[in-house]
Structure formats: C-alpha cells, structure tokens
C-alpha cells in the first residue's frame, strides 16, 4: 500500500507555482487535535472483583464441643478405662491361679461360707474378668487411636 501512495515530497505545496490562496490546503491525514480539550468519554466501569479475593465473612462463633472443652476429664476417663482393664486382667489371673491351687488340694473346697464363696469365684469369674479386661483395654486403644487421628487432621 505504501507503493501506491504518492510521495509527500511531490505534494502540491512543494511544487513550483503553488499558491496557497488559490490552491486548497491538503487534507491532513491521521488524528487531529480538537479544540476544547479531550473529548468526553464514558465513565469507567469498575473491574469485577476477582473470584479468589471474595470478601471473607467474619468467622462465626465456634461452638466448643463438650469433649474439647474438658480434655482433662476425658483423659482421666480414658486412663481410668485402662486401669480398670488392667485390674480385671490381674484379678482374672489371680483367680485362675487360685482355682488351680484349690484343685490341687485333696479336699478341693475350702470349709465355711467364705471358702465356698472363694471356690465359686475362682471357678466362675476368671473367664468373664479376662474378657472384661481385654474389652476395656481394646476400647482404650481404639479411643486413643481415633482421637489422635482426628487431632492430626
């Protein structure tokens, strides 16, 4: 396109015999400066807020759960559970040893009400005490594992 245009050096005002009074001024090409300042423009529209910078709502009041509010009580209950389990296991072992010792006696049963009661206890209670102690210790292990798992997240 530049090849098809006329070289400005060959414009009419640069030619011999050019009279500005007789010849019209060449039409200016390109942007022209207007009088009276810059033209009015539309009011600037504010940019939309970015998605990642949404206004953050103030944090609501967090209700503290009763378990978190009293960790010491919960910890004491857990340790009490462990203690009860250990006591039950020790009692089961002691009663079982007592049952074996009673069996090794010639007469078997001890005389008197206390002896009969002790004999019945050694005969009947080791198993339930064993299961109760194991259950308490298992519950203690699971509770501590679950609470530690929730606390780590």
């Amino acid at each position: 396109m530049a090849d098809t245009e006329i070289d400005p050096r060959y414009s009419a005002q640069f030619q011999r015999g050019y009279d500005p009074a007789r010849h019209p001024a060449p039409v200016r090409r390109g942007p022209t400066r207007l009088e009276g300042g810059p033209p009015p423009s539309a009011p600037r529209v504010p940019d939309p807020p970015p998605v990642v910078e949404r206004p953050v709502a103030p944090p609501a009041a967090v209700e503290v759960e009763p378990d978190d509010a009293q960790p010491s009580v919960r910890s004491r209950l857990e340790w009490a559970l462990l203690g009860a389990g250990v006591v039950l296991l020790v009692a089961a072992g002691a009663l079982f040893v007592g049952a074996v010792e009673l069996q090794n006696r010639y007469s078997g049963w001890l005389p008197g009400f206390e002896g009969q009661l002790y004999g019945a206890a050694t005969n009947q209670l080791p198993g339930p005490f064993l299961v109760g102690g194991v259950l308490a210790i298992v519950v203690w292990i699971v509770l501590r594992a679950v609470s530690a798992d929730r606390g780590s997240r």
Partner: protein, 109 residues
C-alpha cells in the same frame, strides 16, 4: 517408640487365639506310662500318679478356651474396625483434596 494400635490389637488377637489352641490341646489325655502290677494273682496296669498330675492341672479342670476365643475375637474385630475407619478417612481426605484442586482450577480458568 510409638506402637501402632492396629498392630497391637492384631498381636493381642493372635496371642489369645494361640492360648486358646494351647488350652484346647491341653484337654487331650496324654500318653500315659503304664505300670504293671499284680494283685491277688491278677496282673493289671496303672498310671495313677501321672494321670492325676495331668488331671489336677488347672488347664484341664478350668478350661478357659471359650473366654480366650472371645478375647481373640474382640481384639481382632477392633483391629479390623480401626483399619477400616482409617481407610475411610484416607479416602475422604483424598476426595476432599481432589475437589479443592478442581475448584481452584475452575476459578482460575
């Protein structure tokens, strides 16, 4: 050293199961060393001392096999439940992180 609770529970289950097997096997009457004796011309065999030694052991008279099996089952079920719980938590965490990444990508695009 911090013991893993699942391993501890599994070890408890296996230990109680082993004790239950031992208690059951203890119920089997052992091979007795019989001793011959003669009384009024009749020859007989006896193994009284060995038999009563075995019979008077607490393992025989007070068989704890059902309680040991119950304890093994309790520990084993607890180990399985804890393992399932942790697996579920891990899956939820992975799903949550994937959802958060997808939300960030959507917001960025």
């Amino acid at each position: 050293m911090r013991l893993r609770p699942i391993i501890v529970l599994a070890a408890m289950s296996v230990g109680f199961a082993g004790l239950a097997v031992a208690a059951t096997l203890r119920q089997v009457i052992p091979n007795l060393d019989l001793v011959e004796f003669s009384y009024e011309g009749v020859v007989d065999q006896v193994a009284i001392d060995e038999y009563y030694t075995w019979l008077q052991s607490g393992w025989v008279y007070y068989d704890q096999t059902p309680w040991l099996v119950t304890s093994a089952v309790i520990a084993g079920v607890a180990a399985l439940a804890l393992a399932a719980y942790r697996a579920q938590r891990r899956i939820q965490d992975q799903a949550g992180s994937a959802s958060a990444t997808a939300s960030r990508d959507t917001a960025r695009s």
